[in-house]
Symmetry: C2
Subunit: 367 residues, 2 copies
């Protein structure tokens, strides 16, 4: 692992000093911001998420705020998912596409008010994108990056931690729903959300100067539950079949190829960006689909830094877009973005670092 | 310095293996790609650039290609600089702005043909931006990220190296002009360009599978001139007054604030993005300007990872956006983005890591 050079282009998170105090060892960058990726004990951090509760600095999930009379209209124009029934306090997973129907982000959209929305984004520049579309269409809406930084609390004991901090009302929150509140003067929104399938919450800090205060309070509330620091966990998210935009997608990926078809409503209005292209893609049928791949070798491999070819009978049929040692399956597993001609059950070969590793394809998720 | 975790979201460069073989120690990320930032001898790498010749992997300067009948029209719509006289083989430094006149990138625009342009970009997503504008206006142009990766050769001996490799014709290239050619079957464009004021070239590799071949040939040609690996040099670029978009700018910075006014032509057509806002900003006068700051302390400081407050009489007047120990001036220097009420010659105080360091402001560049 190489060092990462400090730069004003790579912004620290409001929780940065707290994560350094916790012993963070490594970072990735995401939305031009540093995100912790490990505290020195990958397997321990994994099992803490699976069996207990983990807290993650995910301030990198920036909130692109749409605010003004046309905020709702812009939200719908950007989202090929019908938002007509979305109410205040509700969040929805949306597949943002460009005019060609290519997936450009997969945020959670949060409706704060009729005239105010957040897009809690993956790693691509939706600030520029949303501004371009809004300005070109002459909409009356301000698009900005809000001073909002999520802190995730994930794992089977997450609800107990968050309830002990905010009250039992959080137990009634439905998935992706949220509520604005405060704790000791720290303004937050509490959402049932998070990039794992172990259950949990994201606490959206709404004042970047108060990161340490929020971190300390969550840590204190989590002590009876043995909380510890973690990060969006590559192993768990791959086992659980969660998409990483930009990692598992390329510049030609449409929502249907990566299991996001259910989040596209083809009968939204024609002015929704990409909807005409998506109708055509759906009618023609997508060229690729996303499956799981279980590699035959039984030694842990390193996380790959790029895609690997997947072959059938010597012919390339797609790519392995990630790969991780599954602590639960005791196998190397990954996502295969392959031709729809290749079906679950297929035996393939992954070309990886000069090796040819047999693999079996399956449906996702693995667990 | 913390480690950086490998990720498929952070693409390696075609020169990645070569830089690892050269002993690269650290990286930054830029346009979701890894860029080498050092080989273990910062001062040696600096003097090699000042006195000799250095070669840099700057594949992160991605080329956003505009191709098609409306390519020239889109280039002008995106650029508040008159491109009317730009001819094939010519490059121009342009200040891309959004509809509010805020600077969103400062690329070199290269005109390859009447229907084909590259924007050699700084660290922001112009692929999405240009596609949004082109699609919303219904232009007949394909916008893509080309398979093109610059390799910089910089320093007073750079011309001799590049001439020995490609021929003496490169000595006649004017600044930012370029020519397409090849070497041993490796397709390249050779441009007189580069992010230093020490002179030099950027060799745009046009086949990502041939990075090692190009690296080896440049290294071999440079041997008589004692070439060695380097990177966009923070010390030299600050001494020379070169802007780092995203490092020295924020989400409210317009071109006039950061010395890019000469690259804005206010009489371009009204359909140029941001031009109406820029006319208003120019008429009203910018609120901030960019000066140099020489700190009074005479010990080298670490490169800051964020901005620092600049105060006059206890009142904040702006920000120190970078800071580096100048090997030539033997002082800590940086850029000050301050109120236009504060003039060159002003004595200010920089609040930095809990310290209050006196500093003197001056015009840029320092050298």
């Amino acid at each position: 692992m190489f060092g990462i050079t400090p730069s004003a282009r790579l912004r620290p998170s409001p929780f940065y000093e707290s994560t350094v105090a916790e012993g963070v060892q490594s970072f990735t960058t995401y939305n031009n911001m540093l995100m912790p990726t490990g505290y020195g004990d990958p397997e321990g951090e994994y099992w803490r998420l699976i069996n207990g509760v983990s807290m993650w600095d995910v301030a990198v999930e920036r909130q692109i705020e749409l605010h003004g009379p046309d905020a709702g209209r812009l939200a719908q124009i950007l989202s090929p998912r019908d938002l007509g029934k979305c109410v205040e306090g509700q969040g929805k997973y949306v597949a943002l596409c460009n005019h060609a129907g290519t997936l450009i982000n997969d945020p959670i959209l949060l409706k704060l008010a009729e005239d105010r929305y957040w897009l809690s984004i993956a790693d691509s520049n939706i600030l520029f994108w949303a501004r371009a579309v809004a300005s070109e269409r002459g909409l009356d809406v301000a698009v900005s990056e809000a001073d909002v930084s999520p802190l995730a609390v994930q794992g089977p004991k997450a609800e107990d931690v968050v309830a002990s901090l905010f009250g039992d009302w959080v137990r009634d929150l439905k998935y992706f729903w949220f509520s604005e509140t405060e704790i000791d003067g720290i303004p937050v929104a509490v959402a049932r959300s998070g990039w794992s399938k172990q259950g949990g919450f994201e606490i959206y800090l709404m004042d970047g100067s108060k990161g340490a205060g929020l971190w300390d309070r969550v840590k204190e509330a989590g002590k009876p539950f043995d909380i510890g620091p973690g990060n969006p966990n590559a192993c768990e998210r791959i086992e659980s079949g969660l998409l990483s935009w930009g990692g598992d997608t390329d510049d030609a990926t449409n929502p249907y190829e990566v299991r996001l078809g259910p989040f596209v409503d083809l009968d939204v209005a024609d002015d929704v960006v990409g909807i005409k292209a998506l109708r055509a893609i759906k009618a023609e049928g997508p060229k690729r689909h996303q499956l799981g791949a279980v590699l035959e070798n039984d030694e842990p491999t390193a996380l790959p830094a790029h895609w690997y070819d997947i072959l059938v009978d010597g012919e390339k049929v797609g790519d392995l877009t990630n790969c991780v040692w599954s602590y639960r399956l005791k196998r190397n597993i990954g996502f295969a973005l392959v031709s729809t001609r290749v079906k679950p059950g297929a035996e393939v070969v992954v070309h990886k670092d000069g090796w040819a590793i047999p693999a079996a394809l399956s449906k996702l998720p693995f667990i």
